[in-house]
């Protein structure tokens, strides 16, 4: 059973309508290609060691933009997402830092670590008002 096919342009436009969210579209995947591929190299212990020894030199081995490199050096994950990074690739950076998903994700919210943790324990962030940029509900 084939469902009615959605128009790709409408589909992609909708994906940009989520507040505080960058959906990993083809456009972002292309923009972030080398940033994400650099992250993948940190899945080898030897590469993690070399990266930790001299982050800047290691980053310079990859054809990333200066803005992308700076986002990694700053561990500014919102900036990295803005530059086409994807969270599952960027996880290789914060795992190298021995930082958990909970800690790293919290840094993107503007909340303190204890406040973010407390919000999650209280049931998480409500979707109310955060479902759409155009028509918040």
């Amino acid at each position: 059973m084939i469902a009615d096919k959605q128009d790709i342009h409408e589909y992609l436009e909708e994906l940009e309508d989520i507040p505080g969210t960058r959906v990993f579209t083809a456009a972002r995947a292309r923009q972030g290609y080398w940033l994400n591929q650099f992250c993948m190299t940190l899945m080898k212990a030897e590469n993690r060691r070399r990266f930790k020894a001299d982050e800047r030199a290691y980053l310079d081995e990859w054809p990333m933009t200066e803005v992308q490199k700076q986002a990694v050096l700053d561990r500014d994950y919102n900036a990295a997402l803005e530059q086409g990074g994807n969270i599952y690739f960027l996880a290789k950076v914060f795992f190298t830092d021995e930082v958990s998903f909970l800690q790293a994700v919290g840094t993107m919210t503007g909340m303190s670590q204890p406040d973010y943790q407390a919000m999650m324990i209280a049931g998480g962030r409500s979707p109310v008002g955060l479902r759409s940029k155009k028509d918040p509900y």
Binding site: I2, T21, T25, F89, V105, M108, P127, L130
Partner: protein, 280 residues
């Protein structure tokens, strides 16, 4: 003949695996997240499945930006746990069922599902955490596994409808396999969670519970939920729930719910778990 005897849905949150590995499941924060799996561990011991078709997503582990298969089926003899950046989990190798996997791949392709065939793949938390949740910490996993990796990272992922229909095709493939095998299908990932940006931490318990309800009550509604609804209602990573629809599609028209568990939070995520049995 091989038969699908049950479907299992479960989150595959990496922190759950780390907590098992470090022996911390009894800690007050974690105990309620794990409590709902005790029933299933006892049930699995009684069920003794021969093979689990384990639907999961690779989290930038075996597949980087160079290869993005929408549906990839593991046809290897065995799979090692991947090093995701903190060293591989110390869990047993996953033993494949290459004969069954190749049979499903061939059957699905003739059934117009153009599967990607994978003969070498390290498996990440998406696959190994559900095994730990259901089987705890054995010396060797008690069954063979056919990994089925779904792209839910780079948009567009497959539609829910396509996932459901793939489940139906898998059921036809299993039914035509001559060996007498007790097969389960597991759908993993979810439930509501968002791991990125200022909106991170989003949880929608009401939506999640309705999804769990309708796996039994109204699966036809679930298969037509558009991607944008998962994004708006369940956070950017809630899209993983399309993988549960492959499991559901494989179980046939009607199912009985045997067990359910839901807990918020584990790390950033709502833990969801369900056990379903097909009704002939």
């Amino acid at each position: 003949m091989a038969r699908i005897t049950a479907g299992v849905g479960a989150s595959h949150i990496p922190a759950l695996g780390a907590t098992i590995d470090h022996g911390k499941t009894g800690e007050p924060y974690w105990a309620p997240a794990f409590a709902g799996f005790d029933w299933t561990r006892a049930w699995e011991e009684a069920q003794k499945p021969d093979v689990v078709i384990l639907v999961f997503n690779d989290h930038a582990t075996a597949f980087d930006m160079n290869f993005i298969p929408t549906f990839a089926i593991g046809c290897a003899e065995r799979y090692a746990a991947a090093d995701e950046g903190w060293g591989p989990r110390k869990v047993p190798d996953v033993i494949g069922d290459a004969d069954l996997a190749w049979h499903i791949a061939q059957s699905c392709i003739l059934d117009e599902f153009d599967m990607t065939i994978v003969n070498k793949m390290d498996v990440d938390h998406g696959l190994t955490v559900p095994l730990s949740l259901m089987f705890n910490q054995p010396e060797a996993w008690p069954c063979k596994v056919v990994p089925l990796a779904v792209n839910v990272v780079t948009y567009p992922p497959p539609t829910g409808n396509r996932c459901y229909a793939l489940g139906e095709a898998i059921a036809r493939a299993v039914a035509s396999y001559p060996e007498d095998l007790n097969v389960q299908v597991w759908g993993t990932g979810g439930m509501s969670h968002q791991l990125q940006g200022p909106r991170a931490g989003l949880i929608n318990q009401e939506w999640d519970q309705r999804f769990l309800d309708d796996l039994t009550a109204d699966p036809q509604r679930l298969r037509h939920i558009p991607h944008i609804e998962y994004l708006r209602e369940t956070g950017s990573e809630g899209i993983e729930m399309v993988m549960w629809l492959i499991m559901r599609g494989a179980l046939g028209a009607n199912v009985r719910e045997l067990h359910r568990h839901y807990h918020v939070p584990a790390s950033n995520t709502a833990v969801g778990h369900i056990v379903l049995e097909p009704i002939a």
